[in-house]
């Protein structure tokens, strides 16, 4: 008679993962972790290679016969062109300082999400094909052949890096993992294997000027909708202008502020600020063509990023403005700060930005001619130019999430905090190892804020949400402020899963609430239509 297993044997489920070295551990595509493949029309629209119907779940990715040659030639080309790429391939000593700094690793425990190992996916190809040691000793020297499985693995993990650069802060050599991911994604794009969540915005932006493909008349309609909302709340009609030649300043913001809540309330904040400053000499215009600050080309290839970035300068030139004011965006500012000048500069037809209200010269923007709106507003507050009532935000207990790109990409820490502290009375910082240069990513950056990869986003966002939960429990924080459109799109969902009582806002929504406009009626609600503190029982008709 067969042995009857004992209860403890039955209860024992073996879930120990295989103990094979990483190169021999096959990558399994898990649903919820990967994004849909780029549609052919979106690849074709920008003249990129290999448009066809395909899915990352398919066995056959419909690659050209010489796909290996294309990837390796592409790698060779980039190793020659970008000194940083060559260095980053060579100098890593695998010390492990970065290993536990990635939010995707912290949230998942998948070793291939350790930045060192994610980079190793590409580095192993480099060693095998471009170093003598790797050519001679192969696996012994950390090299491996490019096979279809290896390419798919590379694809899977290059789209599990949000290019946030937190790991780079801890690397003793300063290896910028985001740049490695960028190179990996460029190679992937040589075979037409982008994800559609990136490729569609690229194609739309190239054609209509923004990610969603909003056409000029619809863009104007959307902003007029905000003007109506502002009038309902304040009784004041704001009148923005569009594509106005001869304006002094061009305003460019991510289109997320125009089409996605809660960014829309931030857009209302901008509109109110500009209206307030109009009588003080602000001469500013919006553009329905440069209607996108974001640049998903940056998540595709340098070339694509450059092409999409060019429209900002082109529109500034066409309108004849003196300088550009930029809205609350994340990667837009990294592109502006680190790449724009060499992509499309010098913008010698523009002038060094000077605030028309305070006379402050923004010397840090001398080269790019583009000023961050938080810096602009902080300067106004510093010069006592804004009439503010922070008590209107008293129902909010606010914390600030440093968006990866402005914080690590341009050292932008103080200005948004300065603005928040002047328009809100209740502000608490999250723990120091989760903010400023050590900030945790929202988990959805670098074009990964799709719907189909929500598990990935929830894992990647765990460290951020965990810190928010802490200040929520300790200080009663109920509002998470940020200065990035992807944050504003992604963090609400993250909060709803991990810390459901916390909402998300842009900084200029808070400014809009606190700003006292000339001739305004007694406000009873904030920009979201929620009652202001102390106004919970007052109906409009009572006033």
């Amino acid at each position: 008679m067969a042995d009857i297993p004992k209860p403890e044997e039955l209860a024992k489920i073996d879930h120990t993962p295989p103990e094979t070295p990483w190169m021999e551990t096959p990558t399994v595509f898990r649903d919820g972790m990967w994004c849909y493949g780029a549609k052919p029309q979106n690849i074709e629209a920008v003249g990129m290679p290999n448009p066809r119907e395909w899915s990352p779940k398919d066995e056959d990715w419909k690659l050209p016969d010489n796909w290996k040659e294309i990837v390796l030639d592409g790698m060779k080309d980039r190793l020659g062109k970008f000194r940083s790429f060559k260095l980053f391939m060579d100098i890593c000593v695998r010390c492990g300082a970065c290993a536990d700094k990635c939010h995707y690793f912290i949230g998942s425990g998948d070793p291939k999400n350790m930045p060192v190992l994610r980079a190793e996916l590409l580095r192993s190809l480099y060693r095998k094909n471009f170093t003598l040691g790797g050519k001679l000793f192969g696996k012994l020297a950390g090299g491996r052949d490019l096979t279809m499985d290896v390419f798919k693995e590379l694809w899977y993990y290059m789209f599990q890096c949000s290019e946030c650069r937190r790991c780079s802060v801890f690397c003793p050599y300063g290896i910028d993992t985001a740049e490695i991911t960028m190179m990996g994604r460029e190679l992937i794009n040589l075979l037409g294997c982008n994800i559609d969540w990136i490729q569609a915005p690229v194609a739309n932006c190239y054609r209509t000027g923004n990610h969603l493909g909003i056409q000029p008349h619809a863009y104007v309609s959307m902003i007029e909708f905000f003007c109506d909302e502002i009038e309902d709340v304040t009784g004041v009609r704001v009148n923005p202008t569009f594509n106005r030649k001869g304006a002094e300043i061009l305003f460019i913001t991510p289109s997320g502020d125009v089409f996605a809540d809660p960014g829309t309330y931030t857009a209302m904040g901008y509109l109110m600020l500009f209206h307030y400053l109009e009588s003080m000499g602000l001469d500013i215009t919006w553009s329905t063509y440069a209607s996108e600050g974001g640049n998903f080309g940056f998540f595709t290839s340098h070339e694509m990023a450059k092409r999409l970035n060019a429209k900002m300068y082109a529109e500034a030139k066409r309108l004849g403005v003196k300088w550009i004011l930029g809205g609350e965006c994340g990667h837009m500012w990294r592109v502006v700060h680190q790449y724009m000048d060499t992509f499309n500069g010098p913008a010698d037809f523009l002038e060094e930005p000077v605030s028309p209200i305070t006379g402050t010269k923004f010397e840090n923007a001398k080269s790019t001619k583009m000023v961050h709106i938080c810096e602009f507003t902080a300067d106004l507050i510093r010069h006592n130019k804004l009439n503010l009532d922070p008590s209107r935000n008293d129902n909010l207990v606010v914390t600030f999430h440093d968006s990866c790109n402005p914080s690590r990409g341009m050292g932008f820490f103080e200005e948004p905090r300065y603005v928040i502290k002047n328009v809100c009375n209740n502000f608490y910082e999250m723990p120091s190892n989760t903010i400023r240069e050590e900030t945790f990513c929202c988990g959805s950056g670098a074009g990964l804020n799709a719907g189909e990869n929500l598990e990935l986003r929830m894992r990647g966002g765990l460290p951020r949400a965990n810190a928010v939960k802490h200040v929520h429990e300790k200080h009663g924080v109920n509002m998470l402020a940020c200065i990035c459109a992807i944050d504003r799109a992604a963090l609400p969902t993250l909060m709803e899963y991990w810390v459901p009582d916390v909402e998300v806002t842009g900084v200029h929504e808070l400014v809009g609430n606190a700003l006292i406009l000339e001739g305004e009626k007694k406000r009873t609600t904030d920009l979201r239509g929620e009652p202001l503190p102390g106004m919970e029982d007052i109906e409009d008709e009572d006033l």
């Binding site: 536990d100 912290i106 998942s108 619809a218 719907g451 929500l454 965990n466 802490h470």
Partner: protein, 179 residues
Amino acid sequence: MTLRDLLIKRKDDIVKEWFDLVLEAYPDESKDFFRKQQNRFANPMGHNIREGISGLYDVIVDHGCDSEKAAPFLDQIIRIRAIQEFPPSVALAFVLEFKELVRREVSAGHEELSEEVNKLEQNLDKLALQAFDVYMGCRERIFELRVNELRNLMFGALERANLVSFPAEGEKEVKENKI
């Protein structure tokens, strides 16, 4: 000595073993990190699982697996497990694995407590079923959030572009029926 006395006395060791058992599902490279990094913000998963099972331990020992008291601790652990790569059988195994830890304790010279162990195991079975509810709640939340994101994006954009029209509050579609 009662089973409760034994479990209270041995809490630190058993919780540590239980935590290690949960970590068995992760690759070696990750296990070390989850175990050793003590900063709760640098290692939210390790911290929450450790705190969750410690709290659950007290509920099991002191409150007979009371579902209301167990709920926040189950949530603290399972909310994380539900978005990781595990099938539910692995994500929730930790509840049933506690049985093995208790049996090991009892078989080391406390056989007289086996009657009490039976009772505890019945409670643990109920706790396992409750864990399944929590897990499903988390998964359903994920799907709900996915749908909400898409709906908000599309409807919001259409509304703001003045491309849709909805009846205002209190507005009747047909004011007078004259047919």
